[in-house]
């Protein structure tokens, strides 16, 4: 009996002094988005400007009667992860990162590869940060992007997060999570990160930033992005406009598959990119004699679309091979997986070899439907 008593008292002593990890749920600040910039204020010494966005929990309950739906706080710090500590001087609750959805990186910061490498390393190491956070690049300052007030503000997840997932209709940007970015950078040193452009009352997610060796080297426009997305198999739906006689015909892609094929002969390495798209006709011109239901017509349009896709893509490829020398089409990755022997040979000289690759694009376009009318 005495033995039990001693054990119970010992256990109680341990446990009642405990509850070390108790933090009430309403005593936490759920950070939904973080922005990180290069500090440009010459008065303050530190490097980074970190911005935290967190929702106003009370507004969920009261259903919008609160003035603000989210709060934004910025602070200047030496290392990005110090931000949460610095803010303890200004906030009444600890910051909680487990529900963070988006990280916005300022343009200027991306021009400093060392800083980026430090930051990414920290992100990967931290057990509290989900690897599925979306990363976007701000053209300008991240703080501006995060501070813009949008009219309809969702507290949960934030507007930004919602936008990033909105790729049902178009592929003008390809959202990348942190793990995707890391993966790309590991394999071929190159990654694409969506670009956010802040404007007065809203911001746009248009196109991507091209990152090579952890440094920003260029931008891809919206349409260019959608074509690259086509190659990477990221497209759910997109639109391609081609001229026909005196009008413009619109073709909507509803399904796109892309296969890459690499073979090396003595001199060159040939890469065949085969794109296969299915879709339907969206818009022609309404006239008496027009008949979109005609096989010939459809074939012509298909050919024109195919031509356009191939040409546009080849132009982009030319740019990325020569101007940027960045393998954003993940050709290197493909080779490393499916032609490992070849990859072993060329891996180290990939930078030199990439521009010399002979990349051919073949598109196979099919128009399956023409909508409701002929």
């Amino acid at each position: 009996m005495k033995k039990y008593l001693i054990i119970i008292i010992a256990l109680m002593a341990i446990f009642l002094t405990g509850c070390w990890d108790v933090i009430e749920i309403n005593e936490r600040i759920f950070v939904t988005a973080v922005g990180i910039d290069l500090n440009e204020d010459p008065n303050i010494e530190n490097e980074y400007l970190v911005t935290y966005v967190y929702p106003n929990i009370a507004s969920i309950k009261d259903g919008g009667s609160q003035k603000e739906n989210k709060f934004v706080k910025s602070t200047v710090v030496e290392t990005p992860f110090e931000g949460s500590r610095e803010l303890t001087t200004r906030l009444d609750k600890p910051l909680f990162f487990r529900h963070m959805k988006v990280i916005v990186i300022g343009e200027e910061l991306l021009k400093k590869p060392d800083k980026i490498k430090e930051f990414f390393d920290g992100l990967g190491r931290d057990p509290r940060i989900n690897r599925k956070v979306q990363i976007i690049v701000a053209q300008g300052k991240a703080k501006d992007v995060l501070s813009t007030k949008t009219e309809q503000e969702l507290v949960v997840g934030g507007y930004l997060n919602g936008m990033l997932k909105n790729k049902q209709l178009a592929a003008r940007f390809s959202n990348r999570t942190f793990s995707d970015v890391m993966k790309d950078l590991q394999v071929s040193n190159v990654s694409m990160i969506p670009r956010a452009v802040p404007k007065k009352d809203e911001f746009k997610l248009s196109g991507s930033a091209i990152i090579k060796d952890y440094r920003l080297i260029g931008w891809l426009g919206e349409t260019e992005n959608s074509l690259v997305a086509l190659v990477k198999g990221d497209v759910i739906s997109e639109i391609v406009n081609v001229p026909y006689k005196d009008t413009i015909v619109s073709y909507i892609i509803s399904n796109a598959i892309c296969k890459k094929d690499v073979h090396a002969d003595n001199e060159n390495i040939n890469v065949d990119i085969n794109i296969f798209t299915e879709g339907y006709l969206q818009e022609y011109k309404y006239e008496g004699e027009t008949n979109a239901f005609d096989q010939e017509f459809l074939k012509t349009v298909e050919k024109r679309v195919k031509y356009k896709i191939e040409k546009d893509l080849e132009k982009i490829i030319g740019d990325i091979q020569n101007k940027y020398n960045a393998d954003i089409l993940c050709i290197g990755e493909h080779i490393s997986k499916f032609e490992p022997d070849l990859w072993k040979e060329i891996e180290e000289d990939w930078d030199e070899i990439f521009p010399t690759l002979n990349i051919n694009v073949h598109a196979d376009v099919k128009i399956r439907r023409t909508g409701l009318t002929k």
């Binding site: 341990i14 405990g18 070390w20 990890d21 487990r98 529900h99 990967g124 057990p127 989900n130 690897r131 599925k132 793990s179 890391m182 993966k183 590991q186 394999v187 490393s336 997986k337 499916f338 490992p340 022997d341």
Partner: protein
């Protein structure tokens, strides 16, 4: 009704759940480090490499039917030598326990309870496990059976849930490997298959002793299968480079699963919860086994009262390494060598000696 008898299905469950312990967390990453995408080959080979020893253990149990290893060992190699064996086994069990519980504590600390002192986590786990360590092999095998099916169902659910986000192309190149790397790979993996030595005790209690070999082998096969699935899923999810960098890829992967349409997010909590069960299933038999070894050393009938004092010893050992890196390097090595003795050397010696004795008698 059945006095001290366990069924073959329970034996199989014991093997599987005792094997899958902390190894499953770091296995994909450590093998990817050595053999890249072809790591699965090492996983399969490692599993197959344990089969001869499982066979030996089964044969020994057949020769000395109804008696546990720690009992008949005395007859085979002599009292004094066997006592030394026992001490080595005891050390092995205790250090292994300390290793497992330390890693367990570190993982829980990192993911769930950042501010709780690790001593508390370790102590509570040890105490909870000692409850079942003090019971008999019947209860332990029943528990193993239960936990096995819970693990099986969660694995299937987790595989299904991760299917949308899988990128199977990450598995390639799957066949490219260097023959030289294989021994190193297998030795890394082999350690994850350790845990089944509990059958040295359990085999004596099995009801239908004719099919034990089949079920033991089945147990190892299922373990191989589970490890393979884990490897493939983590590899597809992360890609080879990221996989190599993660310490505990099997847990990080639960974070990757996100189906917001179905309200499923942040599943790592649930993964952690079921992993606690897995570790418990590894530690329970170990505690029981150490109690049994001690009870044989001191010739007592029951092993209960040895377990609680052992808890304190294990706790002290678990807290010796100062950091996780030390755990994975020094302690890992010590456990490895002890395991080689416990699984390979001792049973084989006993087996050979027993065979010779039989021959001499005939």
């Amino acid at each position: 009704m059945e006095e001290h008898k366990i069924s073959n299905g329970q034996l199989k469950a014991l093997i599987i759940t005792a094997n899958i312990g902390v190894g499953i967390l770091s296995l994909p990453s450590s093998i990817a480090d050595i053999m890249n995408n072809a790591g699965w080959i090492a996983i399969v080979l490692g599993g197959l490499a344990t089969l001869p020893f499982v066979y030996i253990m089964n044969k020994l149990a057949e020769m000395y039917r109804g008696r546990i290893f720690y009992e008949y060992g005395k007859e085979v190699v002599g009292n004094i030598l066997f006592k030394i064996f026992n001490v080595v086994y005891l050390t092995y069990f205790l250090v292994f326990l300390a290793f497992v519980v330390r890693i367990f504590g570190e993982v829980i600390e990192a993911y769930l309870l950042q501010n709780t002192p690790i001593e508390v986590i370790i102590l509570t786990m040890l105490l909870a496990t000692s409850y079942i360590g003090r019971s008999d092999i019947k209860s332990i095998s029943r528990m193993a059976f239960l936990i096995l099916y819970i693990i099986a169902i969660s694995t299937i659910i987790f595989v299904i849930l991760s299917l949308p986000t899988l990128d199977l192309t990450n598995l390639f190149p799957a066949f490219k490997f260097d023959i030289k790397d294989i021994p190193k790979g297998v030795s890394t993996v082999f350690f994850s298959y350790v845990g089944f030595e509990i059958i040295l005790i359990a085999l004596a209690y099995v009801e239908d002793s004719k099919s034990t070999l089949k079920f033991s082998f089945l147990g190892i096969f299922y373990t191989i299968l589970i490890y393979l699935v884990t490897f493939f899923i983590t590899l597809s999810q992360f890609g080879i480079h990221e996989l190599k960098k993660q310490i505990w890829p099997s847990i990080s992967i639960m974070r990757e699963i996100e189906l917001p349409g179905f309200f499923i997010e942040n599943l790592d909590g649930i993964m952690m919860a079921s992993w606690v069960l897995v570790v418990f299933a590894t530690m329970g038999p170990l505690m029981y086994a150490s109690g049994v070894v001690l009870s044989n050393l001191f010739n007592t009938r029951k092993h209960n009262f040895f377990v609680l004092p052992l808890v304190t010893i294990v706790m002290i050992i678990a807290l010796i390494p100062e950091s996780l890196t030390q755990v994975y390097s020094t302690m890992d090595m010590i456990v490895r060598y002890l395991a080689i003795f416990a699984i390979i050397i001792a049973p084989t010696i006993l087996f050979i000696v027993s065979l010779l004795k039989r021959r001499k008698r005939v």
